[in-house]
């Protein structure tokens, strides 16, 4: 803090707006210089602050990986789970305490490779949770191996001659499995991403936000794409906002155009709502839901 800090009229320097939601004893974080994950955490914390949610009833669940560290840095109820199992833990959390707002914050490898099946079925059931997926197109923490999200022809430590596997188109995967909110942004589009996360948090059902972030150490450097700043400039120049675009057309190419925007925003009864309504209909007064369950899902007078 330099002398500029004392430059205000009444000499009051406001504190960093996001520090009250971060575990400052753990900062500085482990992410490399130029990594986009910290930027997405900024967006997420600002979205939480403006969402109007009761922050005592928000739980963050993360898996393993660079992005999996987020749960440890955010000063809310948070849970750092086993590899790939963030969504099952979050489902259990939401079923046990329906009053919680459960947010899964994890990486592409954790959520769609190791935990791919959980992702598919949580979207199919429309479990009431928000999934924020940070896609850095590789396995950053373990040494840059090829991931299901690595673009074709990109080099990874396990594909020295370039990747030849078909790449996952995550918004299409989420939409076809039944997610009610699907959006994709990049770490450069901070304002858009913040607004989108805020919308996703307000949504009932499985809401999914993919944010592209650079991995300068293990993806960009190996592919000779420069450092984190060059990747952010690439996001700025090659992104095209197409809200409502067909998710089939938004697949990612190596250094190609990135289609971003809000693709899906529909209404569909969530898993818990369907369960409540179904059991209430079938069992009548014999169905005794927990008070929290009744409080959250029994709004229709039954």
């Amino acid at each position: 803090m330099g002398e500029d800090a004392l430059y205000t009229i009444d000499n009051v320097v406001p504190p960093n707006p996001i520090e009250n939601l971060l575990r400052m004893d753990r900062i500085p974080h482990i992410w490399c210089p130029g990594c986009g994950i910290g930027t997405t955490v900024n967006c997420f914390v600002r979205a939480l602050q403006t969402s109007g949610l009761d922050l005592d009833k928000v739980a963050i669940v993360s898996g393993i990986g660079c992005t999996g560290r987020v749960a440890g840095y955010i000063k809310l109820d948070s849970f750092h789970t086993t590899h790939g199992r963030a969504i099952p833990f979050a489902t259990g959390l939401k079923l046990a305490n329906p009053e919680l707002k459960v947010v899964v914050y994890s990486g592409d490898g954790d959520l769609t490779a190791i935990g791919g099946n959980h992702f598919i079925h949580a979207a199919r059931r429309n479990v009431d949770m928000t999934v924020i997926l940070i896609n850095n197109m590789t396995y950053g923490m373990t040494g840059g191996q090829v991931a299901p999200t690595t673009p074709i022809s990109a080099t990874a430590s396990t594909t020295p001659h370039g990747n030849f596997e078909q790449t996952f188109n995550l918004p299409f995967l989420a939409e076809s499995c039944g997610a009610v909110y699907v959006a994709r942004w990049t770490a450069f589009h901070v304002r858009h991403a913040t607004k989108s996360i805020k919308e996703a948090l307000a949504k009932k059902g499985f809401s999914f936000v993919e944010i592209l972030a650079a991995c300068p150490t293990l993806y960009s450097r190996r592919n000779k794409l420069g450092d984190g700043l060059d990747q952010m400039s690439y996001f700025r120049e090659q992104s095209e906002i197409k809200n409502g675009a067909d998710t089939k057309s938004v697949a990612l190419d190596f250094e190609g155009k990135i289609i971003i925007g809000k693709f899906v925003d529909i209404e569909r009864p969530s898993y818990q709502q369907s369960m409540y309504d179904h059991l209430r209909k079938k069992l009548g007064d014999q169905y005794i839901p927990s008070p929290e369950m009744k409080n959250v899902y029994g709004k229709n007078g039954n």
Binding site: M1, D4, T8, V13, I27, H29, G38, V190, R191
Partner: protein, 80 residues
């Protein structure tokens, strides 16, 4: 038609030098380019940013939003 002068918003930034990892996001993405990487080093050997053109800063906090290390934030100053 007389030109109506735009009211200029004044702001400033707070930089926590020791948290900075010198990625340069704030310098590159500042909408009015009022930041620069300093010639000084922090204890880890990175160059933190400085507010080089402090009269231009509007306190829009874009630097605070793109900073991955929570090392900078902007705020608007109260009117005199």
């Amino acid at each position: 038609m007389a030109e109506i002068p735009l009211k200029k918003v004044k702001g400033t930034v707070v930089i926590v030098d020791e948290r900075c990892k010198g990625c340069g996001f704030c310098v590159e993405f500042c909408p009015i380019k009022c930041l620069e990487l300093s010639g000084q080093y922090n204890s880890k050997g990175y160059h933190p940013p400085v507010l080089a053109r402090k009269d231009d800063c509007t306190g829009c906090d874009i630097c605070g939003m793109v900073c991955p290390d929570f090392a900078i934030y902007g705020f608007m100053k109260k009117k005199e």
